[in-house]
Symmetry: C2
Subunit: 424 residues, 2 copies
């Protein structure tokens, strides 16, 4: 394997990226120095961070801060990262969901509720890692293409760190996400097109002098950014008492999150932090944007892009970069990739809120909807330890349920009016 | 002092309420057994929980869960409260706000950011305590009058606990709060009137057979409910390294939160958990609903009710029950009560988002706005340790900033279009 210096990348000391040792092509294995690069010069495959972890002990993690930096010895970040101005995401609740479990006929179910992050989605995790990389590489503008949640996470992280931001979104996003992302004072640009078109535009921009000094968290900082999702795996295992779940349902947009949860579980096993035992990973998509689910069901190894049409806009990536890896993992672990339609998404949002008091955005509705479908169809072991991810917040996708979630009545402030309204 | 059994209250064992020993009238000192009562039978004064804390040590608290139940030995809850189905609120971030501090000319500023709670407001704290009381008293319906945040907190808490809920709100609340509160599947009732009219209606309802079996968290469970705000004081002190801040700015709606933060600070001093040193408490109101601020400025001891007209709807209580106590505390501690207009509220929301990446609801805008006003006018010690509360989430009051928080441009996905839009 060649050890190639990426063009334009500055050499960095190892401490700036903690235990990370380099970047490696996921396709051909070519190794690169740590730098702001994301595609293999040999085969254009995606690059991934490699590590030399050394000895990592539970006690060291447990004595760390109650955010993702408790896992700094497993992430490409400097040892003093917890003291830097960032949003300190993570350590969100793992909610024991007995009432939902009872409705679904499952024995033990937990919800990993990432709506508790600073901007109320799991994106704060990945952006926090990309932010550190951006600082190290000397970028002064943080940028991204976004289906909405990332826009808010990048805007907020840049604001707190004192960086500029320039965020690109499809112009038809939910109003809540647009307003929130604008509130942080960075530059928000609406693009007439789908997320996939926004993403292609960002790749063009990065090759142009206009964007060459920018840190696009999910493009030229993507190898670092993606590692942030490993913290979901670490937290779930630690919160279960240093144990892997038997089965887990994860939403699939680009597919990156699912692949990194799997990577995180495998790292914990390799480091001896959890027992080595089998786990099954299930991917969840919305029917209106289900290229990975379709490929899974058809037995394909490649994913045919689609044009998204679903209320689950945060999952509306028609050409998911990590789709093939998701297929691999679902098949290797004995899981599956499944989808639900928009009606089922809304039902699942309401089911989760009614049973557990967790108000999820449409992506959470997709995941809980797929959980319900798998449980009903007998494809989950009802006695196994099950975890389902809620990656975002219902306040960002109110339109999805606004028609159904209304006051039971509007009355004058009198007992008579109350009696009349609720006579039966 | 008479030790009176409240009519209709069942006798409870002390362990069901942890260290709480009874209820005591804040006006005349009459003592009652713990029960679902809220007003003194002698003088109609408000009742407050009394305690026998015994020995409480920092280490015991520090080894507790990362939510308000770490302080269970200081709250009217059973020892096993952490294991019961509730939303486990609290232990929200104390954000070191260096960039905001620099803009305001302050040396050390922290934001206690309660938007990180499960339903994204401080109300989850108070509801969690009321929920335990409701369970102990055998209520099967959780109810409240609400300016919005409480509606969501009660709906979610009841859903998770498997109780029914019936929540009353002014019919003109922000759409986000209405939809969110409805999502949890309880009964939501819009009332044609102000919050104060909704509140009066609930008091009528509780005296009627319709509502006699209901636990109204902020009416017949109010003594328990209100204690939840003490946890803000405990967390701030612990997160500062077991130290009280020198000055703190707190929003004033009913005034209960401010009085309980003061109570919490005094308890910590009395228990020897923090050093006994002076602190100053400042109350913050919106000009359009500033009865306490007006009374403070006029040197009055009583608060003249007003009809609210402000975008800060969660603070729009025109007849604040704890107003006189707020005046006492502001004067006793050398603080003040101040107000800002709606324009300043919006400016403050944007200032906080731009400098720290914290997106506050209008109540947070009021508090940060008052902080800014006090700093500008030289009424805060710029060298003192300062804390400001953000009690809610910007996603719930998007309309307040939607006009100003928009994309910089909407363009086609091309470099030319980007160049044209941002030519200069």
């Amino acid at each position: 394997m060649a050890h190639t210096n990426a063009p334009g990348s500055s050499t960095t000391t190892s401490s700036e990226f903690g235990p990370a040792t380099g970047l490696s092509c996921r396709e051909c294995g070519t190794v690169y120095d740590l730098g702001p690069i994301f595609a293999c010069a040999e085969c254009f495959g995606p690059l991934e961070v490699t590590y030399d972890f050394g000895d990592v002990r539970r006690e060291d993690i447990e004595s760390g801060p109650t955010n993702i930096w408790r896992y700094r010895s497993l992430l490409p970040v400097p040892p003093d990262v917890a003291a830097k101005p960032n949003l300190q995401p993570g350590w969100t609740k793992l909610v024991k969901a007995d009432r939902l479990a009872a409705e679904l006929g499952l024995r033990s179910l937990h919800i990993k509720d990432d709506s508790g992050n600073p901007t109320h989605s799991f994106k704060d995790r990945v952006v926090a890692i990309a932010l550190e990389a951006a600082r190290t590489f000397g970028f002064h503008t943080l940028s991204c293409s976004s289906t909405g949640n990332l826009a808010g996470a990048v805007g907020a992280a840049a604001a707190r760190a004192g960086l500029d931001s320039c965020v690109f979104i499809p112009a038809d996003l939910e109003a809540a996400k647009v307003t929130m992302a604008s509130a942080y004072g960075g530059r928000l640009v609406g693009i007439q097109g789908t997320y996939d078109e926004v993403n292609r535009f960002c790749s063009e921009l990065i090759g142009d002098e206009l964007g060459e000094k920018w840190g696009f968290v999910n493009v030229n900082l993507r190898p670092y950014y993606a590692e942030g999702s490993k913290t979901l795996a670490y937290e779930i295992a630690e919160q279960l008492g240093w144990r892997l779940p038997d089965q887990i349902v994860i939403p699939v947009a680009s597919g990156s999150q699912l692949t990194k949860v799997d990577k995180g579980f495998r790292e914990l096993i390799r480091l001896g932090l959890v027992e080595d035992r089998p786990y099954r990973i299930f991917g969840a998509q919305a029917e209106g944007c289900s290229p990975v689910s379709r490929a899974y069901k058809a037995g394909h190894d490649v994913v045919q892009p689609v044009r998204p049409d679903t209320i689950a806009k945060s999952l509306a990536i028609g050409n998911p970069a990590d789709g093939p890896y998701v297929l691999d993992i679902a098949r290797r672990t004995g899981g599956a990739v499944e989808d639900v339609d928009d009606h089922e998404v809304v039902e699942a949002i309401r089911l989760l809120a009614r049973t557990e008091g967790v108000f999820a955005e449409t992506a959470g509705g997709v995941t809980v909807g797929v959980l319900r479908k798998l449980a009903r169809e007998g494809r989950l072991d009802p006695d196994a330890e099950t975890v389902v991810l809620n990656t975002g917040d219902g306040l960002k996708t109110l339109d999805a349920i606004a028609e159904q979630a209304r006051p039971a009545a509007v009355i004058r402030p009198s007992l008579d009016a109350f009696r009349t309204a609720f006579a039966n």
